[in-house]
Symmetry: C2
Subunit: 430 residues, 2 copies
């Protein structure tokens, strides 16, 4: 039997795992320092949960299966529905605001390509129960905090921000029917991703009226918040949305990240459930890939059978992110971090037992320790010590007859004899 | 829409996540200090991979599904086949011995019950390329090291050890046909798990000959390594297996864990691929639940299309383990570890902007910082600071007009005024 892995999945060999852990550990560290606490849900849920609210694209990419009781289940393609379900279940017991994060493994039946796999990890941060766009600002700050902590700068990425509320108000103001909004969002979301003529053709298929299309195209070419007022006229909803965006940019300036953020009317987001502020973070190099996306979703908890409670959040996958960090040289020398503290070498086979005793004691004391199964010449063992990046090598040789260990510093090559008791006393004090 | 979670899966609310992280973090820490490096594979693989070598029980519990290309896939019920596939793919590039660990999420379509869920996490440690049973000893040491590090003692658990090689040799010596071995293993594995008469009835169904059954029952009642010699007679394979077990117990004594280990002929293991030393770790309290199981599997890499390379390893699930650690009070006060460093309170709404600036700076500097969205009276904000277990509270009040912050120690209630610049200088020095 010679079986391969499934296309679009990844094997994480130790060096790949080191890269994955660097990203996941930093997601966690940044989440915690921003006041988020970790949660997770099951890897599979009832299929129906993803068919209604995730939007057509995700619903068409589900890995669905039937269990032996005939129930239709699916591997999670996103974690937000699970978040909504979990929060709803305990809504009265959870102190608000709820600030939760998770880094779930997700699966989508996509056609595998660079930066898009059928299985990936996605950092999610969400704030539930805060109406003020200060919460949206905090989500954006936290996502930016991660990218800066990973070594990226204002030269590397930009947060593009807009508002579903604004787009909805403007489309209604232009006379687009409410039932058509979701279909039009899906078209507008493509604007920066496809050529202008292809975009205009898609828009024509969604909106027959050329006057409405002209207005929409004019709106989509606005390049600053200040210019929006003229188009919105006296429309109350549109002006409220514009005021909210202005307030958001105020918070972002207060938090010191105004230079990373930009209003961009073309940000609409593909998912069906967004209702207010929406944003995407783009890599400035190459083809401006989206690193992260999110926004406010005020109806999702109610849609899942709960109370109507406001919420906002974002997701950042590990595929595009990993490629970008790799390109920028920010994932170098990670494997070295797995180095061990003590490599125990023994000068002859009769001393192997003593070496094993020492290793067992070292490990029980919390030190990372290893040895050579093969044994053999000391020189060979020292080479193996170098290969596993040992900080120190403890040599059990002739000196051990008088209870002395030889401790060699592998960085500078210096070595000294230490009584075994003193060696362990020193270890405990570290 | 009011959707529930699927039975047999778990929601990890923050307090559950803290428990899961305690276990997963300690698995990782103990693995690394024992010289293992982390790997992982995909959450799904080709279905065929699990149908051939995992044994009937696992093969009957697969969550299988078809992708859009008509390929039959399954969520992983164990990670060892993935390990074999990955090692085979790079066998010539990987330095040996290969010492790898992983803590994968696994799914099995079991009937949910206490300690058995349809989705769980399982720590796996494996050593590939070492023939000597020193590798088995190291696997056992590492598993025991974890349980001891988690706070358990020799009073809490025992490692029961036997040998598939021994059982195979004895069964052949008794005249049991080779083709029947796997079926008889499955029966013998049940010995300690079901009543004696039920066990004997199962054995009768597998072995018609009463003389053979009598010999097998006599073998299965042996309670020490020394008594095995008499039953094995001059059979060479059986005596080799006995010598190997004696050598293993020698290594375990050298490593200082002889008091935790016991020979037990009843340990056979359900999985089909074991070939040598096998062991299970049992909780001594209550119904002697198995916490961990493993052994040597010398044919698995070859079975998966690779070279014949010796290997040994074990798995420890989080369900039974979690219940036991909980019962012993070893998972207390974990949520507190999520406490934050600085809660920033502001005396009046006009100071909220200054509070946000401070929080952004604190977070960017790596400190865990949070604030109250609601603001309001200082006393209320201080209560919230206590609720999130803040170590310190930074108050922005009247003193801030002269650049002074009030820093309150939440443990002893003491407070002092600090100039903002000095505050951040102190932070950088920590």
């Amino acid at each position: 039997m010679n079986i391969q892995s499934v296309k679009g999945t990844r094997d994480f060999y130790p060096e790949d795992m080191a890269r994955r852990n660097f990203i996941a550990d930093l997601w966690k560290e940044v989440s915690i320092r921003n006041g988020f606490v970790e949660y997770d849900g099951p890897i599979f849920e009832y299929l129906a949960m993803y068919q209604q609210k995730s939007g057509d694209e995700i619903a068409s990419q589900l890995f669905a299966f039937e269990d032996r009781g005939g129930r239709m289940l699916a591997i999670r393609p996103e974690i937000t529905p699970t978040l909504a379900r979990m929060v709803n279940q305990r809504i009265n017991a959870l102190p608000r605001p709820i600030k939760w994060f998770s880094s779930p493994r997700l699966c989508r039946a996509e056609r595998p390509q660079k930066g898009r796999l059928r299985e990936f990890f996605q950092w999610n941060i969400d704030i539930i129960g805060v109406e003020d766009c200060l919460a949206d600002a905090e989500i954006i700050f936290c996502a930016a905090d991660f990218l800066l902590a990973a070594g990226m700068t204002a030269a590397d990425f930009v947060v593009r921000i807009s508002s579903r509320r604004l787009i909805a108000a403007m489309l209604e103001y232009f006379g687009v029917e409410k039932e058509k909004l979701n279909a039009v969002y899906a078209v507008l979301d493509k604007k920066s991703k496809i050529p202008q003529d292809a975009f205009e053709k898609m828009l024509e298929e969604a909106i027959a009226d050329s006057d409405k299309r002209r207005k929409i195209l004019a709106l989509m070419s606005v390049d600053s918040l200040d210019k929006l007022g003229g188009i919105a006229g006296a429309d109350e909803n549109a002006n409220k949305a514009i005021d909210e965006l202005k307030k958001l940019f105020g918070w972002l300036a207060t938090m010191g990240i105004a230079d990373l953020c930009k209003f961009d009317i073309g940000i609409v987001r593909g998912l069906a459930y967004y209702t207010g502020i929406v944003f995407e973070i783009y890599d400035k190099a190459g083809d401006m890939r989206a690193i992260c996306g999110g926004g406010r979703y005020d109806n999702l908890l109610a849609d899942f059978g709960g109370q109507k409670i406001t919420a906002t959040g974002c997701g950042m996958g590990d595929c595009v992110l990993g490629i970008i960090l790799e390109e920028k040289g920010l994932l170098k020398n990670l494997a070295v971090a797995n180095s061990i503290d003590y490599f125990v070498a023994f000068a002859e086979e009769s001393l192997q037992n003593d070496a094993l005793k020492l290793i067992a004691k070292l490990r029980r004391a919390g030190a990372k320790a290893d040895f050579s199964y093969k044994g053999g010449a000391l020189g060979k063992q020292m080479k193996q010590a170098s290969a596993v990046n040992a900080s120190k090598c403890v040599i059990i040789g002739q000196e051990y007859q008088t209870g002395q260990l030889v401790v060699k510093n592998m960085t500078d090559g210096s070595q000294q004899n230490v009584a075994e008791k003193d060696f362990f006393d020193g270890l405990r004090q570290q």
